[in-house]
């Protein structure tokens, strides 16, 4: 455990002498670099930081941005090392703690993300980066109202943070409040057009609003930028494939659902959805294979057994396999429908 983390509970109150002096003259460029990193404009940030490294070798802020840059480029060990260096040098900087916390969050190290986000807000309750991270963590800890409040404060202080906009959109998406969700995802995608997740969510929320062209455009933009990395969306092809099936473009839907089963073969929903499409396209044999694959996947929310049984009843009926059709019809009949919320 590095010093920064060890010292968190007894937060230090000193700042490194000479910090300001080492960065004098670089403030504007540092701000630009930070903004570029926030918006995932990695090349731009890299160019700025390269220049600054030469001109302000001792400026610690550069280390923080270099850490974020390494994180953005997927160089995890290098990023970790730089984050440690920075937070060791200034354990009281809320931004350093917040960005380091976000790094841990992306590494699925939720305990450290939780601790660092809390410490960051503690250091500076007006730091939008700290508030955004803490808000996100609280939502993940099922403290949604508190998390949402912090995220809202974060975007009020820094409306240009695409991640905070995205996280607020996700909250509204979960609440099935599509109009509000759309607003946040539109801002997120405008600020960071390389965020495939945000495009996907935007499209998913435009669908129920009836903006089909908008949804189609959002899916397409998401697919254009969907690269491995922090903004990668493994379910974009799945969602677009479903959407295209609803729009009766079965051939294109098939293309995307084929890709979806390649990307996430462990997920029941992708096999199920492709089986449904197979059925619709009268590829009954393939539908049975995909349906059985879905049945074999461990249930992980989303698609329930009843849905699989219903589908396989249809598939085997159409294949003329009376025994299997009967088996799945009986399973369908015996399986109770899902229990929904208490109210309409």
């Amino acid at each position: 455990m590095r010093i920064a983390l060890l010292l968190l509970p007894i937060a230090m109150c000193t700042t490194l002498p000479g910090f300001a002096q080492t960065c004098v003259g670089a403030e504007g460029q540092l701000a630009k670099a930070s903004t570029a990193l926030t918006r995932n404009a990695v090349d731009n940030a890299e160019t700025i930081l390269r220049t600054l490294s030469a001109s302000h070798r001792e400026c610690p802020e550069i280390i923080l941005d270099q850490a974020r840059l390494a994180q953005a480029k997927g160089r995890v060990e290098e990023a970790a090392e730089l984050f440690y260096r920075y937070t060791d040098s200034d354990p009281n900087d809320s931004r350093g703690l917040a960005y380091f916390g976000r790094f841990f969050l992306e590494q699925h190290d939720y305990m450290r993300a939780d601790a660092l986000s809390a410490a960051a807000v503690d250091k500076n309750p007006s730091d939008p980066a700290a508030l955004a991270l803490r808000g996100q963590v609280l939502v993940m800890k099922e403290q949604s109202p508190e998390g949402q409040a912090l995220l809202e404060k974060a975007v009020e202080l820094d409306p240009d943070d695409p991640e905070a906009q995205f996280q607020l959109g996700v909250i509204y998406d979960k609440a099935k409040a599509a109009p509000q969700a759309v607003q946040y995802f539109q801002k997120a995608t405008a600020l960071n057009p390389s965020d495939a997740r945000a495009w996907d969510y935007l499209a998913l929320n435009l669908e129920p609003l009836g903006d089909l062209e908008g949804a189609d455009g959002a899916y397409r933009k998401g697919l254009q930028v969907n690269q491995p990395g922090r903004y990668h969306d493994a379910f974009l092809d799945y969602n677009y494939g479903r959407f295209l099936a609803k729009r009766n473009d079965l051939t294109a839907s098939k293309r995307h659902l084929d890709r979806a089963v390649e990307l996430t073969p462990q997920v029941r929903a992708v096999w199920y959805e492709r089986a449904k499409l197979d059925l619709r396209m009268q590829n009954y044999q393939q539908a049975s294979l995909d349906g059985e694959k879905a049945a074999a996947c461990v249930q992980q929310g989303g698609i329930i057994d009843l849905q699989i049984y219903t589908l396989l009843t249809q598939v085997y009926e159409r294949l003329g396999n009376a025994d299997l059709a009967k088996k799945y019809a009986e399973l369908t009949r015996k399986t109770p429908p899902p229990v929904r919320g208490e109210q309409r």
Binding site: N248, E317, A329, R344
Partner: protein, 532 residues
């Protein structure tokens, strides 16, 4: 292309009926459910009269005062109606929900069955403008064999065994009472609870003994063994075997399709025929239903209404025993996603020879608006048949009447002014019922066929009709008053057929097995066909 247009003429009609659900602050399950309508010619003057089922005060279930009375309005043939409820003796008792009209005793006068939460009532038409409650004598009380009054919603008259006498099917909803009632939502903002909190109930089938009495055959005919949460019911001979089948729309349970085995019993084959669930394999809040051939392939298909976020299921009859879910393929999926619907009909509103869709819309919960995605009061919707298996939502251009936001519930379809266009009467909680006169343009041709059975039941219910025009357009429909939600439609069978002035052939397949063919029939008339 003709435009579908409706005009609400309620204000000048003299119909002042307002559906009163007797709502309470806790929003019990009962108060979202009422609202059946029947269009029936009770005095045989050739014009459809209108009956509205109404609620009652809660929790007492009393029709206290005029505001909860059921209502019968006589059609004066000039666009106005006269309230004849008291003379007819149809004020009703208890919390009424649905209505089904037919001549069950073949005496030439249409009778009326009113289903409800605590009382189901069979009214015999005395032929002189009055009705008599014959429920107990007839044995159609809606009480199960276990002695429990079931919560009746919709009813359908059909001759399931083709013996020339109309039988009665009643859908039942939830095992709910005020004693077991739950509350949902915070105080002051209560919403309707989900039906999943309560057990469902069996449906009932009564066999007509032909002597004014009925026998409960629900168990022996394979009906009551299937417990659902029955809402709408529609009948059609989906497999063209000459025996009427029954579809029941269940709320948050799988839908039922009761396949008729030669009048000797029913098999519930919703799962095997793929109408139990949508293509997503889970139940929706199925409410209303209609069961007719919308694509002129001779096979009755289904439209079902549901709640917002579910889309309205459209099941196309493939003719091989299977149905395919076609909501998105047919173009109503995305459009109906935000709608919540009750009454539903497959009718040719623009007389172009292709049946369109209508849904009476509203969310179930009065406080639905607390969820920003839901709306309690909604406009009705009409989807025009585009002749290629798809529909287009033309509600926005169908007139001011189609923009009216209300808590719509049941609706009945029929030609109120005998102008050859299908009109609609819609009931709405807390606001005046709507009389949607069809004013669609185009001057297309039409025919209304009134069947009079001789060997078959007198109404001719179950008669399958094939119509071929001179230009070769072939259409199919069948005689039934059932369909929509808790409502009863004009039993006269309507066809529109564009510009043809002569119908080349009309083929009627009566329930008795008689096949009757008419040739070169003039368009634009109400044709009475008596079974040969």
């Amino acid at each position: 292309m003709p435009r579908i247009q409706f005009e609400n003429r309620q204000q000048e009609s003299g119909i002042t009926f307002v559906l009163d659900n007797g709502t309470l602050p806790d929003k019990p399950m009962l108060d979202g459910i009422p609202g059946g309508v029947a269009v029936l010619d009770y005095d045989n003057d050739g014009y459809l009269d209108i009956f509205f089922a109404n609620g009652a005060s809660l929790p007492g279930l009393i029709k206290a005062g005029n505001k909860f009375a059921n209502r019968l309005y006589h059609n004066n043939h000039d666009g106005t109606f006269t309230d004849v409820t008291d003379r007819a003796g149809l004020r009703g008792e208890g919390y009424s929900i649905g209505a089904a009209a037919a001549d069950y005793d073949n005496d030439g006068f249409v009778d009326l069955y009113v289903s409800g939460f605590d009382r189901n009532i069979l009214y015999h038409n005395n032929g002189n403008g009055t009705f008599t409650d014959v429920t107990t004598k007839a044995g159609v009380t809606g009480i199960s064999s276990a002695g429990k009054k079931l919560w009746g919603i919709s009813a359908a008259w059909l001759d399931y065994d083709n013996d020339g006498k109309l039988d009665l099917f009643v859908t039942n909803y939830l095992d709910w009472s005020f004693a077991t009632s739950r509350v949902c939502g915070p105080p002051g903002q209560r919403v309707s609870c989900s039906p999943t909190l309560y057990k469902g109930q069996p449906n009932l089938l009564y066999h007509n003994n032909g002597d004014g009495t009925f026998t409960d055959v629900s168990e022996t005919m394979g009906i009551s063994g299937h417990i659902g949460k029955g809402m709408g019911v529609a009948i059609a001979d989906y497999n063209d075997d000459g025996w009427m089948d029954i579809f029941v729309a269940n709320d948050n349970e799988r839908n039922f399709l009761f396949k008729n085995h030669g009048g000797r019993g029913f098999d519930e084959i919703g799962i095997e025929s793929f109408v139990a669930y949508t293509d997503n394999g889970v139940p929706v809040s199925s409410m209303g239903v209609d069961f007719r051939d919308w694509n002129n392939d001779g096979r009755p298909s289904l439209v079902v209404t549901a709640l917002g976020g579910e889309t309205y299921p459209l099941f196309r009859n493939e003719g091989n025993g299977f149905f395919s879910y076609e909501s998105y393929r047919a173009g109503i999926g995305f459009r109906s996603f935000k709608m919540s619907g009750w009454g539903a009909g497959i009718q040719d509103f623009d007389n172009d020879g292709y049946k369109d869709l209508f849904t009476a819309n509203s969310h179930v919960s009065e406080n639905a608006n607390l969820d920003k995605q839901q709306h309690y009061r909604q406009a009705n919707a009409v989807f025009r048949n585009m002749h290629d298996g798809t529909f287009q939502d033309v509600s926005g251009n169908a007139g001011d009447a189609m923009q009216l936001l209300a808590a719509h519930r049941g609706c009945a379809f029929g030609d109120l002014n005998n102008d050859g266009k299908v009109d609609i009467v819609v009931s709405a909680i807390g606001s005046p019922a709507e009389l949607l006169y069809n004013t669609s343009s185009g001057g297309s041709r039409w025919i209304l066929i009134k069947t009079v059975g001789v060997k078959s039941n007198r109404d001719g219910i179950g008669t399958r009709i094939k119509l071929t025009t001179a230009s070769g357009l072939v259409q199919y429909n069948h005689v039934t008053a059932a369909g929509s939600y808790a409502s009863s439609n004009d039993p006269r069978v309507h066809f529109g057929f564009g510009t043809d002035t002569v119908i080349k052939e009309i083929e009627l397949k009566w329930p008795s097995g008689t096949v009757q063919v008419l040739h070169n029939v003039k368009a634009d008339q109400i044709l009475t066909v008596t079974e040969e």
